[in-house]
């Protein structure tokens, strides 16, 4: 076997952050390779389908993903799918393996810089019956529905209320699935009470009036807006005709060989089960939504530090506002440093590319300024139509403080 080829940048994870960075660094003359463990590039973007509250157009993630990949390839970046990065060694060496069987790809790549854009994983929601066929995470339902065009079930219960679960419930409905309702997680799940759930969704009502009304009209429905304003927790609201049971929690998923139903119970506003209110609903699939967690296994094996931030969804590597880490030649972008939308991830990709181009001494046709792009990113965050977490900027500020402190120590 010949000596391993050297790259300027290896991007781990071909989502919106990774593909955007690959495009810009390749356009500046860098030798770039993007590796992704999935069959196709695009990451979570490929499963996204929703009506954009900003302008009521349809957000078709797979088209955006294909375009982003094409732009990066046109700029000169190379791509490998179905390959898993299992380790990083300073210098840098990226170790690879091929779960679907080797097709001639290398077992390692050597590179001057690495961008870890590994995204996020779903937080599990362990409950009786969650390992039965027919029980799945909401992300699995999204992949089945929007990528494979397979219905997750005929009658589906969704558990957990957040931006992601509401959007995917809608996608399933558009695909012809009977979404019988959305209920709250089991009372043992932290922050699952009706009051806490409404509290997390309420910041949507803080948007500028025009956007607020558009959300009210198209996305949430007027009754929902009223509920947010009134501080009361209503029993049931409807969104696109899907009932949101704000005072009902999942108790258990039922079935022997596969899901046949779910046991539910009514709860008080603070999440205490109300005796005597137990009931069953017949469904053949249950989709569990418990939020997303930044995925940072690769960096966890290296000598860098982390900040635990509920605002960002979990534990993220300490990094600068220009997306440099504490390790020379190691960069981060996308959901692995905080759960945000694809639009933000794309901006992070463009920002980190400026840092990489600068550090590697590549020439940029656009003559970008990373500090300016970092400020622009904060501005974009403020004007997003919705956030996975309303305090996401606070989380990034905490990370920035940790970064500045670690610089003082060095």
């Amino acid at each position: 076997m010949s000596a391993p080829e050297a790259f300027d940048l290896v991007v781990i994870g071909g989502g919106p952050a990774g593909l955007t960075a690959a495009r810009d660094v390749a356009a500046a003359g860098g030798r770039v390779m993007v590796v992704d463990e999935n069959h196709a590039m695009g990451g979570k973007l490929r499963g996204q389908l929703h009506e954009d509250p900003a302008d009521s157009s349809w957000w078709k993630g797979w088209e955006l993903a294909e375009q982003a990949e094409k732009d990066a390839v046109d700029a000169g970046a190379r791509m490998m799918t179905d390959v898993v990065a299992w380790g990083l060694e300073p210098g840098w060496t990226v170790r690879l393996t091929y779960p679907a069987g080797r097709t001639g790809g290398p077992s390692q790549l050597t590179t001057r810089a690495v961008l870890v854009a590994t995204g996020a994983v779903e937080r599990p929601m362990p409950v009786a019956g969650w390992t039965l066929p027919g029980a799945m995470t909401i992300g699995a339902a999204q992949v089945l529905t929007n990528i494979h065009r397979v219905k997750p079930g005929h009658r589906v219960l969704v558990v957990g209320m957040d931006v992601l679960s509401l959007t995917i419930a809608r996608a399933m409905q558009l695909a012809g699935v009977d979404v019988v309702g959305i209920v709250l997680p089991p009372t043992t799940v932290k922050g699952s009470s009706p009051r806490a759930t409404l509290g997390r969704l309420a910041p949507m009502a803080k948007l500028a009036p025009a956007k607020y009304m558009r959300l009210g009209g198209h996305f949430l429905g007027w009754s929902w807006v009223q509920a947010l304003a009134s501080r009361l927790v209503p029993r049931t609201l409807r969104m696109w005709g899907i009932p949101l049971h704000l005072r009902t929690s999942l108790v258990a998923i039922q079935g022997t060989d596969q899901v046949t139903g779910a046991a539910l119970v009514n709860v008080t506003a603070d999440g205490t089960p109300i005796p005597g209110s137990e009931r069953k609903v017949a469904v053949d699939a249950v989709c569990l939504a418990n939020g997303l967690i930044p995925l940072n296994e690769l960096l966890a094996t290296l000598d860098c530090s982390f900040v635990r931030s509920p605002d960002l969804g979990g534990t993220v590597p300490v990094h600068s506002d220009t997306l440099r880490t504490q390790l020379d030649g190691m960069y981060v972008a996308g959901n692995s440093i905080g759960i945000e939308s694809a639009k933000i991830a794309e901006k992070q990709g463009a920002l980190v590319a400026l840092s990489i181009i600068d550090d590697l001494g590549l020439s940029s046709r656009h003559g970008g300024d990373a500090a300016g792009a970092a400020l622009e990113l904060m501005g974009a965050r403020r004007t997003m139509e919705f956030q996975f977490d309303a305090n996401v900027q606070r989380g990034h500020d905490d990370v920035q403080r940790a970064w500045e402190k670690s610089g003082d120590r060095a």
Binding site: S107, P124, A128, W130, T131, E297, T315, A402, K405
Partner: protein
């Protein structure tokens, strides 16, 4: 009552984890040592947050790792073929 799976790879249930906590396990790593939760093929990628939710996470500020439940190389299952080829190079 209502026992359910926490670590699918190693067949560890919620009552196993609870028993470990009752027996003195103070963090996710100690639960892993007592129960094998997180020691299977996925190396805790799925159950780590579930175990942490049960045992509680108290560490704050700047940390030296993502979790008390340690992360080791390789972070994903690796075929022997890929390791062998690495050595030949």
């Amino acid at each position: 009552m209502n026992d359910h799976m926490i670590c699918r790879c190693e067949d560890v249930t919620a009552s196993d984890v609870r028993a470990a906590i009752d027996a003195g396990a103070c963090n996710a790593q100690e639960v892993k040592m007592r129960t094998r939760a997180g020691m299977g093929p996925c190396q805790g990628r799925v159950c780590r947050p579930a175990v942490e939710a049960m045992v509680g996470v108290t560490s704050e500020g700047v940390l030296q790792s993502t979790s008390s439940m340690t992360v080791h190389l390789p972070v994903r299952p690796v075929s022997l073929q890929d390791l062998v080829i690495t050595r030949e190079q």
